[in-house]
């Protein structure tokens, strides 16, 4: 499963067989994350890629203990720095969040409290680390933190409300809030998905700088494969709640798994683009696992028509109409069954 680089040190974070399930309308549990395992070394940058619904956001939140109460979590092991997160009392785990772990969310318009000023929210974050700081020193610390993320007018921004900031500025405020205290682990959940390309590059530059400064371990969650390839050391590809491939970022172009190859092919080159865009054809064999029950009969019937081939046999990079109907059936069967 995870063919990591050999390590001698204990990992910063270790997840073994994580399962996250939600109760549906009919009362049955359906798993969104089905047996995921990964490790993160100190100071390493790990990217998690997958499409919407693959469970990557949930994985990040599970590590921080920020899942919605409706989620049912179980794992063989969920460790941070050797400590067992599952056995930890919730209050202690919450404290861990502020001190050693942080999270950056996607859209600062929603992820910052709209009725509190930026400065007040930063003060809250910093007060957990330096409770004895006086008012003036705290104000200086806030201004310094904002300046460190290259915000040009830190005093004005500190007095502003989140809706008055642009997207890029808001994300930089988030970075200042979560990273300038020097957490050991940071989870970035699609940090640039709400930003346009230029601003995205700026924000990533700031993030890069801050992480390098504090030697923070990073879990970078995104659906943008090229971005993750350039920013991270190692990449994990998720599909339908499971890891289908793990490799070093530079080795990703030579990825083995057909799903990964399909994702790579979904980014056609600008020079010499193909005449027809490749369509990713999903093989239900990728879902082959226990606990993946199809939702209704029609899906199973369609799925069983396509014989349960293994990875090797499926020529899944279909170019277009050749496999048309069967693929469509497989796709609908696959989609209908699992998220």
């Amino acid at each position: 499963m995870a063919h990591d680089l050999p390590t001698s040190a204990a990992p910063l974070a270790a997840i073994d067989d994580l399962r996250i399930a939600f109760r549906g309308h009919d009362g049955r549990f359906s798993e969104a994350v089905r047996g995921l395992s990964l490790t993160l070394q100190k100071g390493e940058r790990l990217g998690i890629v997958g499409e919407s619904g693959s469970g990557k956001s949930l994985t990040g939140r599970a590590l921080l203990g920020l899942l919605p109460p409706a989620a049912r979590v179980s794992a063989r092991a969920l460790r941070f720095d050797g400590a067992d997160l599952l056995a930890m009392p919730p209050r202690e785990r919450r404290r861990l969040c502020g001190r050693q772990m942080g999270m950056i969310l996607q859209d600062p318009k929603f992820s910052l409290n709209p009725v509190m000023t930026v400065g007040a929210q930063l003060r809250e974050a910093f007060a957990r680390h330096a409770p004895k700081l006086g008012r003036r020193e705290m104000r200086e610390k806030i201004v310094d933190a904002l300046a460190a993320v290259h915000i040009r007018n830190p005093e004005r921004v500190a007095a502003a409300y989140p809706h008055e900031l642009s997207g890029g500025m808001g994300q930089r405020v988030m970075i200042a809030m979560m990273v300038s205290t020097g957490p050991r682990l940071l989870v970035a959940d699609e940090p640039t998905s709400a930003l346009d390309v230029l601003v995205s590059a700026q924000v990533l530059g700031v993030l890069d700088e801050m992480i390098a400064k504090h030697d923070t371990g990073l879990i970078f969650i995104s659906h943008d494969l090229p971005l993750v390839m350039s920013f991270c050391d190692r990449v994990v590809v998720m599909y339908a709640g499971r890891v289908v491939e793990t490799c070093a970022a530079r080795d990703l172009l030579h990825a083995q798994h057909p799903y990964t190859r399909g994702l790579l092919a979904a980014n056609p080159p600008l020079a010499n683009p193909p005449d027809e865009l490749p369509v990713l054809a999903r093989d239900p064999a990728w879902l082959a696992d226990t606990g993946c029950a199809p939702r209704d009969e029609s899906a199973t019937r369609a799925g069983s028509d396509m014989d349960n081939s293994t990875d090797d046999s499926a020529s899944t990079l279909a170019d277009s109409n050749a496999n048309g109907d069967a693929n469509r059936a497989a796709r609908s069967g696959a989609h209908g069954a699992c998220r």
Partner: protein, 356 residues
């Protein structure tokens, strides 16, 4: 509305730097809405007044008036003028405070209302306070412990609150807590023995008695207001807890709550500072709405408790076909109701930083 056409549009298109001007503009629009709505209310009461099956001339003169006296009185009452002019006269009278004379008390209706309205305000205020103190925390807890016991309790209270007739609940309350248990005093605001012991300066017996240091009077007044305030307060609790729960559930699923938790803040702070602060503005408007509902609810409650407020006055006038008093009370209650409703609109604009 793409290209500015009217002066209003051009004003609206001004950059945010002229925030002061825009604020003044909104205030003006609000005042105009208030005025127009009030005129609408006047029109409605005017129509109701004209719809009365009793001939107002005969009501004044009696059955056996001569034709000439009839004509003279009719002219004196202004009934021979066109409808629009009559409405204008009516509106002018009302704005000058002339609401007619009550058939029952022979006083000007406005004087009567000035005498009785404070009692209703005292009752509505105390009931709202009860509603806020109990209803809001209940709603927050129900949202935080979603689908657990306290949530079901809150929802049950809310459900009963929208199904129970207030006059019946008042009667049951009197039966149980006054007649059987003797925990509270009966109808009325004070025992007759305490009547007139305290100057009514603020209109609230509780405050006046406290200010005068008359503890006997205070406790007696308290025991009289306890039951009606509890009954009305129950409705306020039901409404406010349901609204607070709904607002809080909405907020607790937002992303900034995740951020707050990721910052390591204790859950107590996340709920009561971060989430609640976002709920303040809609909550304030809902509290104002609750107050206005209670003003209405008092109409049916006061008669049960013989509480000498505008509700008793209105129902008494109803039963005796005293139309001047009925319409006057309707106008006053209606105007207060409208003012509170429109106030809630203004509150949004003032308190929400995003709306500025």
């Amino acid at each position: 509305m793409s290209t500015p056409v009217t002066a209003l549009d051009r004003l609206r298109a001004l950059p945010a730097r002229n925030a002061g001007l825009r604020a003044a503009l909104f205030a003006l629009r609000w005042l105009i809405t208030l005025a127009v709505t009030f005129v609408g209310l006047l029109a409605v009461t005017f129509v109701i007044g004209r719809k009365v099956p009793i001939d107002p001339v005969l009501a004044v003169l009696g059955d056996r008036a001569s034709a000439s006296a009839y004509a003279a009185t009719r002219a004196a009452l202004g009934l021979d003028k066109p409808l629009a002019v009559q409405f204008w006269i009516y509106a002018r009278d009302v704005l000058h405070g002339n609401l007619g004379t009550s058939l029952l008390t022979s006083n000007p209706v406005l004087t009567d209302i000035q005498r009785v309205f404070p009692a209703t305000l005292e009752l509505a205020t105390l009931s709202t306070v009860i509603g806020v103190l109990i209803g809001v925390p209940l709603g927050v807890l129900a949202a935080v412990r979603h689908n657990r016991l306290i949530d079901h309790v809150a929802r049950f209270i809310g459900l009963v609150g929208s199904s129970v007739p207030v006059f019946w609940l008042g009667l049951m309350g009197l039966l149980l807590f006054y007649a059987k248990l003797h925990w509270v005093s009966g109808p009325g605001r004070l025992d007759p023995v305490f009547d007139g012991m305290v100057d009514t300066r603020t209109g609230s017996l509780l405050i006046d008695a406290l200010a005068a240091g008359e503890w006997d009077v205070f406790f007696n007044a308290l025991s009289h207001i306890a039951l009606p305030a509890a009954i009305l307060g129950y409705y306020s609790v039901a409404y406010l807890s349901r609204m607070t729960r709904s607002f809080m559930l909405d907020q607790l699923s937002q992303e900034y709550i995740t951020t707050a938790r990721a910052k390591g803040l204790p859950e107590r702070r996340v709920v009561w500072v971060h989430a609640l602060r976002n709920v303040m503005v809609p909550l304030l408007t809902v509290i104002a709405l609750s107050y206005s509902f209670l003003l209405e609810g008092s109409v049916l409650t006061e008669i049960v408790f013989a509480w000498p407020g505008i509700g008793s006055y209105l129902t008494g006038a109803l039963l005796n076909a005293d139309m001047n008093a009925v319409l006057g009370s309707t106008l006053v209650i209606g105007a207060t109701f409208i003012a509170l409703n429109l106030l809630t609109d203004a509150l949004y604009r003032v308190f929400d930083p995003r709306a500025r």
